[in-house]
């Protein structure tokens, strides 16, 4: 992936930094802990590579920093980027409240829309359209759960964030796969 090389390098750098910082201190971690650490550091590195430009990265970092045990690691990784954690924390707090309000409003809108559609449209048409809409809505809900911080995004934003998230996931997978293959090819 030529266009992603810079992103890969960035991610790799940050990931290794995070790993070094955390792995040096704890040498006797269980395998699960290690895996968790690795994954977390990778995720944080990926999110920080975005420099807070995307919502999912901010949500990811804020979710990680809210947890006490992970917060330390997050701070270590994001040490130089002091503004990022602050922004994420504030964003998280704000989004929490906003998300709750949004959820309520959304639900009410959905209910109102459903009622309106069922009443206004022809019966047959309403059934078919509502079925398709229901399907799409369902899937959208699932997608929201997948993308970090996706519950608070509207449709357009959700799709954009999904795009970005997919590309970063790809980069992550490629780098990790190469690292793993290099590790295991030697030993």
């Amino acid at each position: 992936m030529c266009p992603h090389t810079s992103l890969k390098q960035q991610f790799l750098k940050k990931w290794i930094m995070g790993l070094q910082r955390c792995s040096f201190s704890k040498k006797n971690m269980s395998i699960l802990e290690r895996k968790k650490t690795i994954k977390l550091s990778a995720d944080i590195a990926m999110a920080s590579a975005r420099n807070g430009t995307t919502r999912w990265s901010r949500a990811l970092i804020s979710n990680a920093s809210k947890d006490g045990s992970d917060n330390r690691l997050v701070q270590q990784i994001l040490g130089p980027d002091s503004n990022t954690p602050a922004a994420t924390t504030t964003n998280k707090a704000g989004t929490r409240r906003a998300s709750v309000c949004k959820k309520i409003v959304k639900r009410s809108h959905q209910i109102r829309r459903r009622r309106r559609k069922c009443v206004a449209a022809a019966p047959v048409k309403a059934v078919t359209s509502s079925i398709s809409e229901h399907l799409v809505r369902k899937r959208r809900q699932v997608l929201k759960t997948l993308i970090p911080g996706g519950e608070f995004m509207d449709e357009i934003c959700l799709i954009e964030e999904t795009l970005d998230y997919i590309t970063s996931l790809r980069v992550q997978v490629d780098v990790m796969r190469s690292v793993a293959s290099a590790c295991f090819s030697q030993s």
């Binding site: 070094q20 395998i31 130089p80």
Partner: protein
Amino acid sequence: MDKGEKDKYELENRNENSINYQAPVMSSDWQFGGANLTTAGMSLVPSGNPLAIGSSCASASVADSFGSNLWEHPSNSQNLGFCGINVQNGASSSNAMGIGKSTLTSLRSGVDRPFDMGWNAASSMLKGGFFLPNTTGILPQSLSQFPADSAFIERAARFSSFNGGTFSDMVIPFGMPESMGLYTGGMGLMRGPEDMFAANGMKSVSGVESQKIKLNVTEATRDACLQVENRAKKSPGNDRRNGSLLRANEEAKQGIGGSGNESDEAEFSGHDGGQDEPSSLDGAGGEPSAKGLSLKKRKRSLQDAEIDQAKGGQPSTEAAKDGAENQQKGDQKQTTSVNKTTGKQLSPASHPPKEEYIHVRARRGQATNSHSLAERVRREKISERMKFLQDIVPGCSKVTGKAVMLDEIINYVQSLQRQVEFLSMKLATVNPRLDFNIEGLLAKDIIQSRAGPSSTLGFSPDLSVGYPSLHPSQPGLFQAALPVTGSNTGVIHRSLSSQFTSLTGGLKESNQLSNPWEDELHNVVQMNYGTSAPSDDLNVNGPQPSGNT
């Protein structure tokens, strides 16, 4: 912006008109009216008013800019005929509603300027049965749009006799407001207002080609009408649709043409003009001729849109963007387009914060209230982004439909996330020397990330042979790390090695490595890693020191 553009058009037209149309004031009026109408049409969607309103606004603004009674009257009458929007001639607009009776008086009441001789002549002709003689710009174009209506045809004939057919176009549009209700129910009357608007837009091009312009506009509007015709006819939404369609046409034209040259328009109008006139007269055929006219008008509106674009830098870019978007979305749609300038000019008084307004054309058979239109815009935005996702997610190109595509996307994201988990687990099981490994693998990973995994893996075994100085405990790792040939990788390695030295772990290997790495960098065979830009290395190295400290 719109207003400014209109002014420009008007000025140009005025000059031309003064030169060419001393007598046929109508033609010049038409041009202006057309310009007004087009702009008016453009702003129809935002305001949710019928096309007429938009046109009235436009014409009013144009008329004022020109400062000529002739122009004002036609524009006023046009506006009045369509809808009493809060135009400058608001008072006259109300009169215009009843234009059918006495156009002249209604116009005069609205306009302070005196009538020109030419206008009087035209108005007198119009009195015969036309609603708004003043709406010269609008009428000619709209005339061609109502071929089905025998009455319109008659009027068109009358108009044509008056001024080479231009008047006929002018007049008919005015009659439209009243007959709109009749036609919309029966046929695609929507064309009428569209044509009018298109005609208005055309008119602004040049006085000489007012006729042609009008024809072009009618063509353009006809195209719009055709679109409308194809769909179910809905009388209530016709007006809005016409306006929105007109706008869409114009915007689509803008996007397509983008030339914005008056000459282009003139040329186009010339073509269309010749076609429109006979077609309008042949309106007896009804729909077929109307269709032809609407096609022409659509072209016209496109031209107008182009010209408008040329006049305003911002709108052109936006329109071009929108045009491109429209084209992408399919020619049938012509639904969404951003037209700041037109929006502004159309209803400056009613909707000041309309600059960011997105002009959407209501499709035939669809509701035209602002909510549904906004929803349509939103839906198109979403579909556009889904297209990007289609390219990224493998296996999604053949899939159509939101639900299935969302399904694929969900599956893909889930699979990627599972891969990350699996790989992290795999890495966790490597060994307690994970940190060393990772450092050692950094170079290799960098190489790999640069030039694909296959090439780097191929290199590492070859290059690992000649490095006996490496630490015996980690021969494989460092050997793998050594094949760093490019200067870029060397820089990275140096930075990495510096990183390693700063580690609290006190990696002796790293210290040893840094030296052999640097040596190796010079000695190792250079590998072509494709695009390994030094800038990347610099960027990579930049934050490193800060991070390490």
